[in-house]
């Protein structure tokens, strides 16, 4: 039995630093997705909202927040929180009810309004919270974690700061024609290397910004899609939201340490296991993938993801990059949307934004950034507290 669900519609509110309430972005994205699907809001019988718990909100995001803003329609409601994987977890929740036959057509929506500067923990003294302690005891910011991963690539695989800059140059070019991207401007390697070093070896332009934005997806059972008149809709083949497996031996944000490996390295790292579970669930392999949307919180992290998704062997991502394989027109374009480099991160919306982009690519609607003949797309991200996700879509 197939566990596929159909994507009826996708929509976004453009990313930026708009400073408006997140609900407004969410409604714009939801209405765009409903219009794209040709589904009336009153027909939606399930709403799943992505939540974020960062400080600085006038309120908290929940499924009901969006349901009320769209006008109470009596739908079932759920709320998901999974840090950067929030959108995928919300999608998974909606998928489960649809596959169980409990709901027919669902709106999944995530939106964010972000503060300026470094993402910092909530106020107050919390001596048992690693996310507070890492700042208090060590001054360990998010970019410092990204920099640790980047430095390992340099010392172990011979990556250079020029390679990292190449990722930015590529993604900036990819995002030029994307109407939802916040940054639509060519960037040169010299620009990246001339920007201030934030956490050695990463420059300011290697690190993604935080943005406002919203993304929404309408999903339904394949039967509903057929009745709705869709012959070959984009299908979601897999949604992986696995937790790490003990022992988790790679240092993850916001932790101060890893589990003890007991002398034996585990079969897969957490990030590798996220992708592995998606491939297993979809019955699709890395060789079948036409494009990937991965979480480039830093330029160097995109290179890690290419290997975590098994699109090449460990230590070979720089060679792919340098050969142009991950550029539009290359063998396996990575972040054709422009990625976080062009969007900046809007946490509860970002995993859904990845799904929106893959949907447009598979429909051949990614104007100005289309991966020709795209049949299968994969997304990947990892967030705080043991969250991560990978979604595989095909047509």
């Amino acid at each position: 039995m197939s566990n596929d669900v159909a994507v009826l519609g996708v929509g976004m509110h453009p990313w930026g630093k708009w400073g408006k309430p997140f609900t407004e972005y969410g409604v714009v994205a939801a209405r765009a997705a409903l219009a794209d699907a040709g589904v009336a809001w009153t027909d939606v019988d399930l709403v799943v909202g992505g939540e974020t718990v960062r400080n600085g909100y006038g309120g908290y995001v929940a499924g009901a927040t969006f349901a009320q803003a769209l006008g109470w329609n009596g739908a079932r409601v759920a709320t998901s929180y999974a840090a950067c994987a929030t959108g995928a977890q919300a999608l998974d929740t909606a998928r489960a009810r649809i596959l169980a036959g409990l709901s027919e057509v669902a709106l999944v929506v995530g939106a964010d309004t972000t503060p300026k500067g470094f993402l910092a923990p909530n106020a107050g003294e919390r001596w048992d919270d690693p996310d507070w302690l890492r700042f208090r005891l060590l001054g360990m910011t998010n970019p410092a974690y990204f920099a640790l991963y980047a430095r390992r690539r340099m010392d172990l695989y011979g990556a250079t700061q020029e390679d990292f800059a190449r990722v930015k140059v590529k993604n900036a070019r990819h995002g030029l024609a994307n109407p939802n991207a916040r940054y639509r401007k060519e960037v040169s390697a010299e620009d990246v290397l001339a920007s201030a070093v934030v956490a050695d070896p990463l420059h300011l332009l290697d690190i993604c910004a935080t943005s406002d934005g919203a993304a929404a997806v309408i999903i339904a059972s394949p039967d509903y899609a057929t009745r709705h008149g869709l012959d070959s809709p984009v299908r979601i083949n897999a949604i992986s939201t696995v937790t790490p497996t003990f022992p988790n031996t790679v240092l993850d944000m916001p932790n101060l340490s890893t589990d003890a490996h007991g002398g034996v390295e585990p079969e897969r790292t957490f990030k590798e296991s996220i992708a592995h579970a998606a491939y297993e669930e979809a019955g699709i392999g890395p060789d079948d993938v036409s494009l990937a949307e991965v979480y480039d919180l830093s330029t160097a992290l995109e290179l890690d993801w290419i290997e975590d998704l098994a699109l090449c062997k460990r230590g070979e991502a720089e060679a792919l990059l340098r050969a142009g394989d991950t550029t539009l027109g290359g063998r396996i374009p990575v972040n054709p949307s422009g990625g976080l480099a062009c969007f900046g991160e809007a946490v509860p919306a970002q995993a859904l934004a990845q799904v929106c982009e893959v949907t447009w690519q598979l429909r051949g609607q990614a104007e100005g950034r289309q991966v020709e003949g795209a049949r299968v797309g994969i997304t990947a991200n990892q967030g705080l507290f043991g969250h991560g996700s990978s979604v595989i879509l095909s047509r």
């Binding site: 208090r136 001054g139 910011t141 640790l148 430095r151 010392d155 003990f246 240092l251 340490s257």
Partner: protein, 153 residues
Amino acid sequence: MSARPAIDGWFTTGEAPALLGSRCTTCATTYFPPTPTDRAGFCRNPACGGEEFATVELSRRGQVWSYTDAQYQPPPPYVSRTDPYEPFALAAVELDEGITVLGQVADGYGVGDLKVGAEVELVVETLNRADDGDDLLIWRWKPVTELGEEADQ
């Protein structure tokens, strides 16, 4: 004026300071940061139901897993020791116990003194000053200079 650890029960001070871990008395898995002693602790090995831990000193030396620095002042609750802010280096260090532990790098050392796989040892230095005037102490990683290398520096 005196000095005290910035956090209780995570490391020892003195001649040969060390991080303090918790070893599960059932499966012998060691954890850092240590399990709180004033409330229940649960072993996080999914195959173990252990709830009792022994406090153990962790290896004072380890190999650098990776390293970086903080060229911009981190936001609160980080408190800078100096005004204006002075950047510092950070390292993740893999100990013999198989645990990788983050720490700031000892005063006077930067990313240029580090390499993935290089040996470092634990020292205790001043993180910043508390409101009551006490120095707050923290563990740090200090590059180990092998005999014969001094001449190259």
